[in-house]
Symmetry: C2
Protein backbone atom coordinates (compact mmCIF):
# COMPACT_ATOMS: atom_id res chain seq x y z
CA UNK A 1 0.00 0.00 0.00
CA UNK A 2 1.42 3.34 -1.07
CA UNK A 3 3.45 4.86 1.73
CA UNK A 4 2.99 8.39 0.39
CA UNK A 5 -0.78 8.01 0.80
CA UNK A 6 -0.29 6.69 4.30
CA UNK A 7 2.11 9.46 5.23
CA UNK A 8 -0.73 11.93 4.66
CA UNK A 9 -3.06 9.98 6.86
CA UNK A 10 -0.48 9.20 9.52
CA UNK A 11 0.16 12.86 10.20
CA UNK A 12 -3.33 12.93 11.58
CA UNK A 13 -2.73 10.32 14.29
CA UNK A 14 -2.87 13.05 16.88
CA UNK A 15 -6.06 14.24 15.26
CA UNK A 16 -7.45 10.74 15.47
CA UNK A 17 -6.58 10.35 19.14
CA UNK A 18 -8.39 13.59 19.81
CA UNK A 19 -11.38 12.33 17.84
CA UNK A 20 -11.54 9.10 19.82
CA UNK A 21 -11.33 10.98 23.09
CA UNK A 22 -14.06 13.35 21.95
CA UNK A 23 -16.19 10.34 21.07
CA UNK A 24 -15.71 8.85 24.51
CA UNK A 25 -16.53 12.19 26.09
CA UNK A 26 -19.73 12.40 24.08
CA UNK A 27 -20.83 8.98 25.31
CA UNK A 28 -20.12 10.18 28.85
CA UNK A 29 -22.12 13.39 28.37
CA UNK A 30 -25.09 11.34 27.24
CA UNK A 31 -24.78 9.06 30.24
CA UNK A 32 -24.59 12.01 32.65
CA UNK A 33 -27.69 13.44 31.06
CA UNK A 34 -29.45 10.10 31.45
CA UNK A 35 -28.53 9.95 35.13
CA UNK A 36 -29.75 13.49 35.75
CA UNK A 37 -33.05 12.68 34.05
CA UNK A 38 -33.39 9.48 36.06
CA UNK A 39 -33.06 11.50 39.26
CA UNK A 40 -35.91 13.72 38.10
CA UNK A 41 -38.04 10.73 37.25
CA UNK A 42 -37.41 9.32 40.75
CA UNK A 43 -38.72 12.56 42.23
CA UNK A 44 -41.79 12.44 40.03
CA UNK A 45 -42.42 8.80 40.89
CA UNK A 46 -42.26 9.64 44.57
CA UNK A 47 -44.85 12.39 44.12
CA UNK A 48 -47.09 10.16 42.03
CA UNK A 49 -46.97 7.53 44.79
CA UNK A 50 -47.83 10.05 47.48
CA UNK A 51 -50.78 11.32 45.47
CA UNK A 52 -51.87 7.74 44.82
CA UNK A 53 -51.71 6.87 48.50
CA UNK A 54 -53.72 9.92 49.48
CA UNK A 55 -56.24 9.17 46.78
CA UNK A 56 -56.60 5.48 47.67
CA UNK A 57 -57.05 6.28 51.35
CA UNK A 58 -59.74 8.84 50.61
CA UNK A 59 -61.55 6.67 48.09
CA UNK A 60 -61.81 3.88 50.69
CA UNK A 61 -64.02 6.05 52.81
CA UNK A 62 -64.93 9.37 51.21
CA UNK A 63 -67.78 10.11 53.64
CA UNK A 64 -65.20 10.27 56.42
CA UNK A 65 -63.87 13.53 55.03
CA UNK A 66 -67.25 15.13 55.03
CA UNK A 67 -68.31 13.61 58.35
CA UNK A 68 -66.61 16.29 60.38
CA UNK A 69 -65.33 19.80 59.69
CA UNK A 70 -61.75 19.02 60.81
CA UNK A 71 -61.27 16.33 58.20
CA UNK A 72 -63.09 18.40 55.62
CA UNK A 73 -60.56 21.15 56.34
CA UNK A 74 -57.63 18.72 56.05
CA UNK A 75 -59.02 17.34 52.80
CA UNK A 76 -59.25 20.76 51.20
CA UNK A 77 -55.96 21.92 52.72
CA UNK A 78 -54.19 19.01 50.97
CA UNK A 79 -55.39 20.13 47.53
CA UNK A 80 -54.55 23.80 48.05
CA UNK A 81 -51.82 24.80 50.53
CA UNK A 82 -50.05 21.45 50.64
CA UNK A 83 -50.28 20.90 46.90
CA UNK A 84 -48.77 24.32 46.09
CA UNK A 85 -46.04 23.88 48.69
CA UNK A 86 -45.07 20.24 48.19
CA UNK A 87 -46.30 18.89 44.88
CA UNK A 88 -46.22 21.77 42.43
CA UNK A 89 -42.51 22.63 42.88
CA UNK A 90 -41.51 18.99 42.34
CA UNK A 91 -43.49 18.91 39.11
CA UNK A 92 -41.97 22.17 37.92
CA UNK A 93 -38.39 21.27 38.86
CA UNK A 94 -38.46 17.82 37.33
CA UNK A 95 -40.16 18.35 34.02
CA UNK A 96 -39.09 20.31 30.97
CA UNK A 97 -40.37 23.79 30.31
CA UNK A 98 -42.03 22.75 27.10
CA UNK A 99 -43.52 19.53 28.43
CA UNK A 100 -47.29 19.49 28.45
CA UNK A 101 -47.55 17.53 31.70
CA UNK A 102 -48.08 20.79 33.58
CA UNK A 103 -50.94 21.77 31.30
CA UNK A 104 -52.59 18.36 31.59
CA UNK A 105 -52.43 18.52 35.36
CA UNK A 106 -53.82 22.07 35.41
CA UNK A 107 -56.85 20.80 33.51
CA UNK A 108 -57.50 18.13 36.17
CA UNK A 109 -56.92 20.66 38.93
CA UNK A 110 -60.09 22.43 37.85
CA UNK A 111 -61.99 19.60 39.54
CA UNK A 112 -60.02 19.92 42.76
CA UNK A 113 -61.06 21.99 45.79
CA UNK A 114 -60.03 25.64 45.71
CA UNK A 115 -58.75 28.24 48.15
CA UNK A 116 -62.36 29.43 48.39
CA UNK A 117 -63.30 25.96 49.58
CA UNK A 118 -60.45 26.18 52.11
CA UNK A 119 -61.85 29.39 53.54
CA UNK A 120 -65.24 27.68 53.68
CA UNK A 121 -64.00 24.68 55.64
CA UNK A 122 -62.13 26.83 58.15
CA UNK A 123 -65.18 29.03 58.65
CA UNK A 124 -67.36 25.96 59.14
CA UNK A 125 -64.91 24.64 61.72
CA UNK A 126 -64.82 27.92 63.63
CA UNK A 127 -68.63 28.17 63.56
CA UNK A 128 -68.81 24.67 65.03
CA UNK A 129 -66.29 25.63 67.67
CA UNK A 130 -68.31 28.69 68.66
CA UNK A 131 -71.71 26.98 68.48
CA UNK A 132 -70.65 24.17 70.78
CA UNK A 133 -68.06 26.17 72.75
CA UNK A 134 -65.46 23.55 71.90
CA UNK A 135 -62.04 23.94 73.47
CA UNK A 136 -59.30 24.51 70.86
CA UNK A 137 -56.98 21.92 72.34
CA UNK A 138 -59.74 19.32 72.36
CA UNK A 139 -60.49 19.94 68.69
CA UNK A 140 -56.80 19.72 67.84
CA UNK A 141 -56.64 16.45 69.75
CA UNK A 142 -59.46 15.03 67.64
CA UNK A 143 -62.22 15.41 70.19
CA UNK A 144 -65.25 17.16 68.73
CA UNK A 145 -67.36 16.71 71.83
CA UNK A 146 -69.06 13.46 71.00
CA UNK A 147 -67.44 12.44 67.76
CA UNK A 148 -63.84 12.08 66.84
CA UNK A 149 -61.72 13.42 64.03
CA UNK A 150 -58.11 13.46 62.92
CA UNK A 151 -55.63 15.23 65.17
CA UNK A 152 -53.98 18.43 64.02
CA UNK A 153 -50.29 19.25 63.75
CA UNK A 154 -48.83 22.63 64.72
CA UNK A 155 -48.80 23.65 61.06
CA UNK A 156 -52.43 22.59 60.57
CA UNK A 157 -53.45 24.68 63.61
CA UNK A 158 -51.32 27.53 62.29
CA UNK A 159 -53.17 27.58 58.98
CA UNK A 160 -56.55 27.76 60.76
CA UNK A 161 -55.14 30.69 62.68
CA UNK A 162 -53.78 32.29 59.54
CA UNK A 163 -57.13 31.95 57.84
CA UNK A 164 -58.77 33.69 60.78
CA UNK A 165 -56.10 36.38 60.62
CA UNK A 166 -56.92 37.01 56.97
CA UNK A 167 -60.53 37.45 57.99
CA UNK A 168 -59.35 39.95 60.66
CA UNK A 169 -60.86 37.55 63.20
CA UNK A 170 -58.17 38.08 65.83
CA UNK A 171 -60.26 36.33 68.47
CA UNK A 172 -59.89 32.97 66.74
CA UNK A 173 -56.38 33.79 65.51
CA UNK A 174 -55.17 34.03 69.09
CA UNK A 175 -56.80 30.72 70.03
CA UNK A 176 -55.42 28.76 67.11
CA UNK A 177 -51.97 30.38 67.06
CA UNK A 178 -51.64 29.58 70.77
CA UNK A 179 -52.56 25.98 70.04
CA UNK A 180 -50.03 25.94 67.20
CA UNK A 181 -47.40 27.32 69.55
CA UNK A 182 -48.11 24.65 72.18
CA UNK A 183 -47.98 21.86 69.66
CA UNK A 184 -44.82 23.30 68.12
CA UNK A 185 -43.19 23.14 71.53
CA UNK A 186 -43.61 19.37 71.74
CA UNK A 187 -43.18 18.44 68.06
CA UNK A 188 -40.03 16.43 67.40
CA UNK A 189 -40.30 17.02 63.66
CA UNK A 190 -41.24 20.69 63.47
CA UNK A 191 -44.05 21.23 60.98
CA UNK A 192 -43.90 25.04 61.19
CA UNK A 193 -41.39 27.59 62.44
CA UNK A 194 -42.00 28.92 65.95
CA UNK A 195 -41.09 32.47 65.04
CA UNK A 196 -43.67 32.48 62.28
CA UNK A 197 -46.40 31.46 64.75
CA UNK A 198 -45.18 34.06 67.24
CA UNK A 199 -45.29 36.75 64.58
CA UNK A 200 -49.01 36.20 63.99
CA UNK A 201 -49.84 35.53 67.64
CA UNK A 202 -48.11 38.69 68.79
CA UNK A 203 -50.01 40.96 66.45
CA UNK A 204 -53.37 39.29 67.10
CA UNK A 205 -52.79 39.51 70.86
CA UNK A 206 -52.11 43.21 70.46
CA UNK A 207 -55.24 43.64 68.37
CA UNK A 208 -57.22 41.91 71.11
CA UNK A 209 -55.97 44.60 73.49
CA UNK A 210 -53.46 42.64 75.57
CA UNK A 211 -50.38 44.82 75.16
CA UNK A 212 -48.37 43.27 77.98
CA UNK A 213 -48.74 39.75 76.63
CA UNK A 214 -47.96 41.03 73.11
CA UNK A 215 -44.72 42.45 74.50
CA UNK A 216 -43.81 39.17 76.21
CA UNK A 217 -44.39 37.30 72.95
CA UNK A 218 -42.39 39.87 70.98
CA UNK A 219 -39.46 39.37 73.34
CA UNK A 220 -39.68 35.62 72.77
CA UNK A 221 -39.74 36.22 69.02
CA UNK A 222 -36.65 38.41 69.28
CA UNK A 223 -34.85 35.66 71.18
CA UNK A 224 -35.40 33.44 68.15
CA UNK A 225 -34.81 36.15 65.54
CA UNK A 226 -32.79 39.02 67.01
CA UNK A 227 -32.59 40.82 63.65
CA UNK A 228 -36.36 40.81 63.09
CA UNK A 229 -36.73 44.55 62.46
CA UNK A 230 -40.50 44.65 62.60
CA UNK A 231 -40.42 42.81 65.95
CA UNK A 232 -37.81 45.27 67.21
CA UNK A 233 -39.97 48.23 66.31
CA UNK A 234 -43.08 46.52 67.74
CA UNK A 235 -41.25 45.95 71.03
CA UNK A 236 -40.47 49.66 71.32
CA UNK A 237 -44.07 50.47 70.42
CA UNK A 238 -45.59 48.12 72.96
CA UNK A 239 -43.19 49.39 75.64
CA UNK A 240 -44.22 52.95 74.79
CA UNK A 241 -47.91 52.05 74.98
CA UNK A 242 -47.42 50.34 78.34
CA UNK A 243 -45.45 53.32 79.66
CA UNK A 244 -48.25 55.65 78.59
CA UNK A 245 -50.79 53.35 80.24
CA UNK A 246 -48.67 53.43 83.38
CA UNK A 247 -48.60 57.23 83.22
CA UNK A 248 -52.38 57.41 82.90
CA UNK A 249 -52.79 55.03 85.86
CA UNK A 250 -50.37 57.05 88.00
CA UNK A 251 -52.18 60.30 87.26
CA UNK A 252 -55.43 58.59 88.07
CA UNK A 253 -54.06 57.65 91.51
CA UNK A 254 -52.95 61.18 92.07
CA UNK A 255 -56.42 62.49 91.46
Amino acid sequence: VASNVLAELFTSMAHMQRALEAERDIAEEIRQYIRAQEEKLKNLERIASEIDQHSAKALENPEYYLANPVDAYLFVKYFTLDWDRDIDPVLKNNTGNLDDLGKKIELHRQDLPTYEDLTGTVNALLRLQDTYKLDTTSIARGDLGGSSSSQLSAEECFEIGRQSYKNEDFYHTVMWMQEALDRNFIETNQTISRSLILDYLTFSTYKQGNILHALVLTKELLLLEPDHSRAQSNKRYYEKLLAEEEQVNRHGDDG
Copy 2:
Protein backbone atom coordinates in the same frame (compact mmCIF):
# COMPACT_ATOMS: atom_id res chain seq x y z
CA VAL B 1 -71.81 17.47 65.50
CA ALA B 2 -74.09 20.09 64.00
CA SER B 3 -76.11 18.58 61.18
CA ASN B 4 -76.70 21.99 59.60
CA VAL B 5 -72.95 22.38 59.18
CA LEU B 6 -72.72 18.91 57.73
CA ALA B 7 -75.60 19.48 55.37
CA GLU B 8 -73.57 22.23 53.70
CA LEU B 9 -70.59 19.94 53.34
CA PHE B 10 -72.60 16.90 52.34
CA THR B 11 -74.05 18.66 49.30
CA SER B 12 -70.54 18.58 47.97
CA MET B 13 -70.21 14.79 48.02
CA ALA B 14 -70.45 14.77 44.24
CA HIS B 15 -67.85 17.50 44.22
CA MET B 16 -65.62 15.42 46.42
CA GLN B 17 -65.96 12.32 44.25
CA ARG B 18 -64.96 14.41 41.28
CA ALA B 19 -61.99 15.75 43.25
CA LEU B 20 -60.82 12.26 44.17
CA GLU B 21 -61.12 11.11 40.57
CA ALA B 22 -59.18 14.15 39.39
CA GLU B 23 -56.51 13.33 41.94
CA ARG B 24 -56.23 9.78 40.68
CA ASP B 25 -56.09 11.06 37.10
CA ILE B 26 -53.27 13.42 38.01
CA ALA B 27 -51.22 10.58 39.48
CA GLU B 28 -51.85 8.65 36.26
CA GLU B 29 -50.75 11.62 34.10
CA ILE B 30 -47.50 11.81 36.03
CA ARG B 31 -46.93 8.09 35.59
CA GLN B 32 -47.58 8.27 31.86
CA TYR B 33 -45.10 11.11 31.62
CA ILE B 34 -42.54 9.07 33.53
CA ARG B 35 -43.02 6.11 31.19
CA ALA B 36 -42.63 8.31 28.12
CA GLN B 37 -39.44 9.80 29.52
CA GLU B 38 -38.11 6.34 30.37
CA GLU B 39 -38.58 5.30 26.74
CA LYS B 40 -36.52 8.29 25.67
CA LEU B 41 -33.82 7.44 28.17
CA LYS B 42 -33.70 3.88 26.80
CA ASN B 43 -33.09 5.27 23.32
CA LEU B 44 -30.33 7.51 24.62
CA GLU B 45 -28.75 4.65 26.54
CA ARG B 46 -28.72 2.54 23.40
CA ILE B 47 -26.95 5.32 21.47
CA ALA B 48 -24.47 5.87 24.27
CA SER B 49 -23.64 2.14 24.24
CA GLU B 50 -23.16 2.09 20.48
CA ILE B 51 -20.84 5.09 20.66
CA ASP B 52 -18.98 3.46 23.55
CA GLN B 53 -18.53 0.23 21.63
CA HIS B 54 -17.25 2.03 18.56
CA SER B 55 -14.91 4.07 20.71
CA ALA B 56 -13.57 1.11 22.66
CA LYS B 57 -12.95 -0.88 19.47
CA ALA B 58 -11.08 2.00 17.88
CA LEU B 59 -9.06 2.79 20.99
CA GLU B 60 -7.85 -0.83 21.13
CA ASN B 61 -6.05 -0.37 17.85
CA PRO B 62 -6.14 3.18 16.51
CA GLU B 63 -3.37 2.62 13.96
CA TYR B 64 -5.60 0.11 12.22
CA TYR B 65 -7.84 2.92 11.02
CA LEU B 66 -4.97 4.81 9.49
CA ALA B 67 -3.25 1.70 8.16
CA ASN B 68 -5.34 1.59 5.03
CA PRO B 69 -7.51 4.09 3.16
CA VAL B 70 -10.64 1.89 3.31
CA ASP B 71 -10.71 1.86 7.09
CA ALA B 72 -9.71 5.50 7.22
CA TYR B 73 -12.78 6.19 5.06
CA LEU B 74 -15.03 4.09 7.30
CA PHE B 75 -13.67 5.83 10.40
CA VAL B 76 -14.45 9.28 9.04
CA LYS B 77 -17.77 8.17 7.54
CA TYR B 78 -18.91 7.06 11.01
CA PHE B 79 -18.37 10.52 12.47
CA THR B 80 -20.05 12.38 9.58
CA LEU B 81 -22.68 10.61 7.45
CA ASP B 82 -23.52 7.88 9.95
CA TRP B 83 -23.56 10.26 12.90
CA ASP B 84 -25.95 12.71 11.21
CA ARG B 85 -28.19 9.91 10.02
CA ASP B 86 -28.29 7.62 13.05
CA ILE B 87 -27.10 9.40 16.18
CA ASP B 88 -28.13 13.03 15.84
CA PRO B 89 -31.87 12.36 15.31
CA VAL B 90 -32.00 10.10 18.38
CA LEU B 91 -30.40 12.83 20.47
CA LYS B 92 -32.80 15.45 19.15
CA ASN B 93 -35.93 13.33 19.52
CA ASN B 94 -35.16 12.16 23.01
CA THR B 95 -34.00 15.28 24.76
CA GLY B 96 -35.82 18.48 25.61
CA ASN B 97 -35.53 21.58 23.45
CA LEU B 98 -34.00 23.58 26.25
CA ASP B 99 -31.61 20.87 27.45
CA ASP B 100 -27.97 21.74 27.04
CA LEU B 101 -26.91 18.21 26.16
CA GLY B 102 -27.03 19.15 22.49
CA LYS B 103 -24.74 22.13 23.07
CA LYS B 104 -22.29 20.07 25.11
CA ILE B 105 -22.08 17.44 22.40
CA GLU B 106 -21.62 20.07 19.70
CA LEU B 107 -18.56 21.33 21.58
CA HIS B 108 -17.02 17.85 21.56
CA ARG B 109 -17.92 17.39 17.91
CA GLN B 110 -15.42 20.10 17.05
CA ASP B 111 -12.71 17.51 17.67
CA LEU B 112 -14.36 14.94 15.44
CA PRO B 113 -13.56 14.38 11.74
CA THR B 114 -15.45 16.59 9.31
CA TYR B 115 -17.08 16.26 5.91
CA GLU B 116 -13.89 17.76 4.50
CA ASP B 117 -12.00 14.85 6.03
CA LEU B 118 -14.55 12.52 4.43
CA THR B 119 -13.86 13.94 0.99
CA GLY B 120 -10.16 13.55 1.75
CA THR B 121 -10.41 9.86 2.65
CA VAL B 122 -12.49 9.04 -0.42
CA ASN B 123 -10.06 10.88 -2.68
CA ALA B 124 -7.13 9.03 -1.08
CA LEU B 125 -8.91 5.74 -1.66
CA LEU B 126 -9.62 6.51 -5.30
CA ARG B 127 -6.02 7.65 -5.85
CA LEU B 128 -4.83 4.36 -4.41
CA GLN B 129 -7.21 2.47 -6.67
CA ASP B 130 -5.94 4.28 -9.74
CA THR B 131 -2.26 4.11 -8.78
CA TYR B 132 -2.34 0.37 -8.24
CA LYS B 133 -5.14 -0.35 -10.76
CA LEU B 134 -7.06 -2.10 -8.04
CA ASP B 135 -10.29 -3.81 -9.00
CA THR B 136 -13.34 -2.22 -7.30
CA THR B 137 -14.79 -5.55 -6.24
CA SER B 138 -11.48 -6.62 -4.70
CA ILE B 139 -11.28 -3.42 -2.69
CA ALA B 140 -14.87 -3.84 -1.51
CA ARG B 141 -14.03 -7.40 -0.51
CA GLY B 142 -11.18 -6.17 1.68
CA ASP B 143 -8.37 -7.05 -0.67
CA LEU B 144 -6.02 -4.12 -1.26
CA GLY B 145 -3.58 -6.10 -3.35
CA GLY B 146 -1.23 -7.27 -0.64
CA SER B 147 -2.83 -6.00 2.50
CA SER B 148 -6.31 -6.47 3.83
CA SER B 149 -8.96 -4.09 5.05
CA SER B 150 -12.56 -4.15 6.19
CA GLN B 151 -15.16 -5.19 3.66
CA LEU B 152 -17.67 -2.68 2.37
CA SER B 153 -21.45 -2.84 2.37
CA ALA B 154 -23.60 -1.67 -0.54
CA GLU B 155 -24.24 1.61 1.30
CA GLU B 156 -20.54 2.14 1.97
CA CYS B 157 -19.76 1.61 -1.73
CA PHE B 158 -22.67 3.91 -2.60
CA GLU B 159 -21.22 6.74 -0.53
CA ILE B 160 -17.84 6.44 -2.27
CA GLY B 161 -19.73 6.66 -5.55
CA ARG B 162 -21.76 9.63 -4.35
CA GLN B 163 -18.61 11.43 -3.27
CA SER B 164 -17.17 10.87 -6.73
CA TYR B 165 -20.43 12.11 -8.24
CA LYS B 166 -20.17 15.32 -6.22
CA ASN B 167 -16.68 15.79 -7.67
CA GLU B 168 -18.17 15.23 -11.16
CA ASP B 169 -15.85 12.21 -11.38
CA PHE B 170 -18.31 10.03 -13.30
CA TYR B 171 -15.59 7.52 -14.13
CA HIS B 172 -15.30 6.45 -10.50
CA THR B 173 -18.99 6.99 -9.84
CA VAL B 174 -19.86 4.30 -12.37
CA MET B 175 -17.37 1.85 -10.86
CA TRP B 176 -18.53 2.28 -7.30
CA MET B 177 -22.25 2.56 -8.00
CA GLN B 178 -22.00 -0.69 -9.99
CA GLU B 179 -20.29 -2.32 -7.03
CA ALA B 180 -23.01 -0.95 -4.75
CA LEU B 181 -25.64 -2.37 -7.06
CA ASP B 182 -24.04 -5.81 -7.09
CA ARG B 183 -23.75 -5.87 -3.32
CA ASN B 184 -27.30 -4.62 -2.94
CA PHE B 185 -28.47 -7.56 -5.01
CA ILE B 186 -27.12 -10.09 -2.53
CA GLU B 187 -27.67 -8.18 0.73
CA THR B 188 -30.27 -9.82 2.96
CA ASN B 189 -30.54 -6.70 5.12
CA GLN B 190 -30.57 -3.91 2.56
CA THR B 191 -28.23 -1.09 3.58
CA ILE B 192 -29.33 1.24 0.75
CA SER B 193 -32.25 1.41 -1.66
CA ARG B 194 -31.61 -0.05 -5.12
CA SER B 195 -33.48 2.72 -6.90
CA LEU B 196 -31.25 5.32 -5.26
CA ILE B 197 -28.13 3.55 -6.56
CA LEU B 198 -29.70 3.20 -10.00
CA ASP B 199 -30.52 6.90 -10.06
CA TYR B 200 -26.85 7.86 -9.68
CA LEU B 201 -25.53 5.03 -11.82
CA THR B 202 -27.85 5.88 -14.70
CA PHE B 203 -26.82 9.50 -14.87
CA SER B 204 -23.10 8.75 -14.52
CA THR B 205 -23.33 6.10 -17.22
CA TYR B 206 -24.93 8.66 -19.50
CA LYS B 207 -22.23 11.20 -18.69
CA GLN B 208 -19.61 8.60 -19.57
CA GLY B 209 -21.27 8.38 -23.01
CA ASN B 210 -22.94 4.97 -22.79
CA ILE B 211 -26.50 5.95 -23.71
CA LEU B 212 -27.74 2.43 -24.35
CA HIS B 213 -26.69 1.17 -20.96
CA ALA B 214 -28.11 4.31 -19.34
CA LEU B 215 -31.44 3.48 -20.96
CA VAL B 216 -31.32 -0.13 -19.72
CA LEU B 217 -30.64 1.09 -16.19
CA THR B 218 -33.42 3.70 -16.43
CA LYS B 219 -35.89 0.98 -17.39
CA GLU B 220 -34.79 -1.03 -14.37
CA LEU B 221 -35.28 2.04 -12.18
CA LEU B 222 -38.79 2.54 -13.60
CA LEU B 223 -39.62 -1.07 -12.78
CA LEU B 224 -38.86 -0.25 -9.14
CA GLU B 225 -40.37 3.25 -9.17
CA PRO B 226 -42.88 3.61 -12.02
CA ASP B 227 -43.87 7.14 -10.92
CA HIS B 228 -40.28 8.45 -10.92
CA SER B 229 -40.91 11.47 -13.18
CA ARG B 230 -37.28 12.35 -13.79
CA ALA B 231 -36.56 8.75 -14.80
CA GLN B 232 -39.58 8.84 -17.13
CA SER B 233 -38.30 11.96 -18.84
CA ASN B 234 -34.72 10.57 -18.96
CA LYS B 235 -36.02 7.42 -20.65
CA ARG B 236 -37.64 9.49 -23.37
CA TYR B 237 -34.47 11.56 -23.71
CA TYR B 238 -32.16 8.53 -24.01
CA GLU B 239 -34.51 6.88 -26.51
CA LYS B 240 -34.47 10.09 -28.54
CA LEU B 241 -30.66 10.26 -28.41
CA LEU B 242 -30.36 6.64 -29.48
CA ALA B 243 -32.84 7.18 -32.32
CA GLU B 244 -30.82 10.18 -33.51
CA GLU B 245 -27.62 8.12 -33.31
CA GLU B 246 -29.31 5.40 -35.33
CA GLN B 247 -30.33 8.03 -37.92
CA VAL B 248 -26.75 9.30 -38.19
CA ASN B 249 -25.41 5.75 -38.60
CA ARG B 250 -27.97 4.97 -41.31
CA HIS B 251 -27.07 8.12 -43.25
CA GLY B 252 -23.40 7.20 -42.85
CA ASP B 253 -24.06 3.82 -44.46
CA ASP B 254 -25.92 5.49 -47.26
CA GLY B 255 -22.94 7.67 -48.09
